[in-house]
């Protein structure tokens, strides 16, 4: 097949030769297949493997006063393949009782400024465009299109955990970035 002089061989020789040809081809194919499937999988398998966002430990419930918003900071870990980076992150925590805890993202849903708690007026006030929210996060006045963004949380062994998320500012819908 490959070169012309191969055709000159007599018939029994050809069957013997064909046997060797098939053997070579099948074994080569076997190695190629056994190797190429894992190699493709190596590249494809990791793409969908984006880790779901996990809970970060914020603080112990005992350290939070009742009905008074506090802004504890915790360590947020971001994982990107084998590179892990950590940064300190703050959230607003309002504890009404040990079972009723709310966590707000500290980012104003209007245009992304950092709002503050005004303890005299008992209101959250954003210094940028004066969006004002009450202790439940509802808009009292100002340009904010939606209430303060609540973050998913859980309580375990008297510790508060949060899933850190960012939301698109400036729109009515709460949309994760």
């Amino acid at each position: 097949m490959l070169t012309d002089n191969f055709k000159q061989n007599d018939t029994p020789q050809i069957t013997r030769r064909n046997f060797f040809k098939i053997l070579s081809g099948v074994f080569a194919g076997f190695i190629a297949f056994s190797l190429s499937v894992p190699m493709i999988e190596t590249l494809v398998g990791t793409i969908s493997n984006k880790k779901s966002r996990s809970y970060s430990k914020v603080t112990s419930l005992n350290s939070i006063p009742e009905n008074e918003p506090v802004e504890p900071s915790f360590v947020l870990t971001e994982e990107d393949a084998f590179i892990k980076s950590t940064k300190a992150q703050e959230v607003w925590v309002i504890k009404k009782s040990n079972s009723n805890v709310t966590i707000f993202s500290p980012i104003c849903p209007h245009l992304g400024c950092r709002y503050q708690w005004n303890s005299d007026r008992k209101l959250f006030i954003c210094p940028c465009h004066h969006s004002v929210f009450n202790i439940d996060g509802n808009v009292v006045s100002g340009p904010s299109p939606r209430p303060l963004d609540r973050l998913p949380k859980k309580i375990e062994n008297n510790y508060l955990y949060v899933i850190w998320e960012r939301f698109k500012p400036g729109i009515e819908k709460k949309e994760v970035i």
Partner: protein, 647 residues
């Protein structure tokens, strides 16, 4: 089909190239003896493919090389296979090149007109060794790092150019990032490129004169074609090699030797198996003669290889008629094997694990005192007391207790009821010791001890938690980092880099014995008293607290890493012992912590280096591949048998 083939060949000479590669008459017929060259080529191609694939994940930086490789091995589907094939392929390559050379030597195939084929082969041998050396460094684990330290030092002993060569190789005066970058480029770009060119030349030269064939005229009359007779034999060997490598990758994966730690003094490097002969040979060249070993031996070997076709120019190839040559080759092999086996068995590793006990035994102890020493080492005494420069500093140094004139009875009372001698003594009563233990311990304490243990390490590093001064202690409150237990802050929650490093269990064992055992007990079994704490004892790590345990190695490592990094104070009114912040205080390096964590996980039956994500587990993949191979082989054997009987 034929039309397309012709169309292509009218434009590029595919058929001619194939003809050059495949169309050759084999003198003496196809033979399995002649498969070694093609087997080497097969493994080389496998190395190229798996090597390139590893580059999708591996990064050549000192801070991420180890993590990135382990990410590939544990978190990427079939990453274990890609890396395992490359690792074992490297070993196979060295062996195959060796066997190939041996075959050529026995057949006398280096003789005229094949001298240049031989010389290019010698160059390929050297390139293989260079690939093996540069590749070993890339994981930047303990083994690779220390192999690089030793290897580049050997290069540095070359006369005249040694210092320059070493400087060039490691990119400065100190091994670090630039070294890794250079070895990486050498391993992945420069050496393979040269090797590909050399293989092409080696192959072209081989094609010009063909296989050397048998030495007897009678056998030379048999002829067969390279394609497909010889190629099918080559493929059989290739497929068997492939299966062997898959088996090794699946059932004997490369070890996790722990992240490279330049500050580590407990790791004693030993050469890779293929350099063991040199490692062992160097031991015979003391002091000023060392260069004879480091440079002399390799140079001599290379010279012999290079000059072989020019020294041995007689045309006869039958090994029986070349007894001198055969004897020389035999002696060379015996030397190589003997040195390798000696190197393999040499006792470095054994003495290493005994570091702890040998360091104190330079003065002979009575049998009772020896038993007492065991009690001393396993019941928490070392946490507070120092003997021969080892131990804590909370309590008095006991090295010279024998010279203080205390009676054995006084010591036993001090052990069981310390406050009877000094009402303010912070020492906990060791009432759980039985009479024999107390007597042995007293014997040990009253034995003479050397001022400092040979090979002792820096005490400040060993056990920083115990360097508290006594005034703090008498205040009755040791909770120097009490925030750890009640913590509202964030620092105490953080894991350190060690939590993400895959440590080495054996190395972790040594470190644990050195730094942790005095409080957590032998093998982490606990039982060491901690008066003033709620539980009264230092927590056992074997088994570990249920809240810390996890089947998932990463979660488990994270949980204990927080404590090792940041320390913790046990609950209770006045705990005498507490866990110091080994990571934050830099008392242990992150690499050491990673090794200790691997050990603690291992104590609890969790493998730190467990493969996390895989479509098929190594075992399943192996069964599929090996099963398919067996099925295909049976079909071939059957067809072959049927044909033979018919013809």
């Amino acid at each position: 089909m034929h039309g397309i083939w012709k169309w292509i060949n009218d434009r590029i000479p595919v058929a001619k190239v194939l003809q050059l590669g495949l169309d050759e008459e084999i003198t003496g017929g196809a033979s399995y003896f002649f498969t070694l060259g093609s087997a080497t080529l097969f493994v080389f191609i496998l190395q190229m493919v798996t090597g390139i694939w590893q580059l999708f994940y591996y990064v050549p930086t000192v801070d991420h090389a180890y993590d990135s490789l382990n990410f590939l091995r544990l978190f990427v589907p079939y990453g274990w296979l890609i890396h395992g094939l490359h690792y074992w392929g490297a070993t196979a390559m060295v062996i195959l090149v060796g066997l190939h050379i041996l075959r050529v030597f026995i057949w006398g195939a280096y003789k005229k007109p094949r001298e240049l084929t031989w010389l290019f082969g010698v160059v390929l041998l050297l390139l293989t060794i260079a690939l093996s050396f540069t590749g070993a460094a890339l994981p930047w684990d303990e083994r690779g790092y220390w192999a690089t330290v030793v290897g580049t030092s050997i290069a540095g002993t070359t006369p005249f150019i040694g210092n320059g060569l070493k400087y060039l190789l490691i990119g400065g005066s100190k091994i670090g990032q630039l070294t890794l970058s250079r070895l990486f480029i050498l391993h992945t770009a420069i050496i393979p490129s040269i090797a590909v060119i050399m293989i092409a030349v080696h192959f072209a030269a081989f094609r010009k004169f063909g296989s050397v064939g048998p030495w007897t005229e009678e056998k030379r009359k048999i002829k067969s074609d390279f394609w497909p007779e010889q190629v099918s034999k080559d493929m059989v060997v290739a497929v068997l090699l492939f299966l062997l490598l898959v088996t090794l990758a699946a059932f004997n994966p490369p070890p996790f030797t722990g992240p490279a730690d330049p500050l580590d003094t407990t790791y004693l490097p030993k050469s890779e198996w293929n350099f063991l002969f040199l490692y062992q040979a160097l031991k015979f060249f003391p002091g000023s003669l060392e260069k004879l070993g480091t440079v002399g031996i390799p140079t001599l070997v290379i010279l012999i290889f290079v000059s072989l076709p020019f020294l041995d120019r007689k045309p006869k190839r039958n090994p029986l008629k070349r007894p001198g040559m055969m004897f020389g080759g035999f002696v060379f092999l015996v030397l190589l094997f003997t040195l390798t086996v000696m190197g393999y068995n040499s006792g470095l590793n054994k003495s290493q694990t005994k570091l702890k006990s040998t360091s104190i035994k330079s003065i002979k102890l009575s049998p009772a005192a020896l038993r007492g020493e065991n009690v001393y080492n396993t019941h928490g005494c070392t946490s507070c007391h120092t003997i021969s420069g080892r131990g804590g500093r909370l309590g008095p140094n006991l090295t010279n207790e024998s010279k203080k004139g205390c009676t054995k009875q006084w010591i036993i009372v001090q052990l069981t009821n310390p406050r009877s001698h000094n009402p303010k003594s912070p020492m906990p009563p060791f009432s759980m010791l039985d009479k024999t233990q107390l007597s042995n311990l007293a014997d040990y304490l009253l034995s003479p001890h050397p001022e400092s243990a040979p090979n002792s390490y820096n005490q400040n590093i060993v056990n920083p938690s115990l360097t508290l001064n006594s005034s703090e202690n008498q205040g009755g409150n040791l909770q120097t980092n009490s925030s750890a237990s009640t913590n509202g802050g964030n620092k105490q929650n953080a894991t350190g880099p060690a939590a993400d490093m895959i440590g080495n269990v054996a190395h972790g064992t040594i470190l644990f014995q050195r730094d942790c055992e005095s409080c957590h007990g032998t093998n982490g079994k606990g039982g060491v008293p901690n008066p003033g704490s709620l539980s009264g004892q230092v927590p056992s790590l074997n088994p570990i607290n249920k809240n810390l345990f996890s089947e998932n190695p990463q979660t488990f490592a994270d949980n204990i890493d927080r404590i090792i990094q940041n320390g913790s104070v046990p609950q209770g009114p006045n705990p005498q012992l507490h866990m110091e912040d080994y990571g934050d205080s830099h008392a242990l390096t992150q690499q050491e912590i990673a090794n200790i964590e691997a050990y603690i996980l291992n104590l609890n039956g969790v493998n730190r280096a467990e493969i996390q994500i895989t479509s098929f587990s190594p075992k399943e993949y192996y069964i599929i591949v090996a099963g398919t191979f067996v099925a295909v082989s049976i079909i071939f054997v059957f067809i072959g048998y049927a044909k033979k009987n018919k013809l």
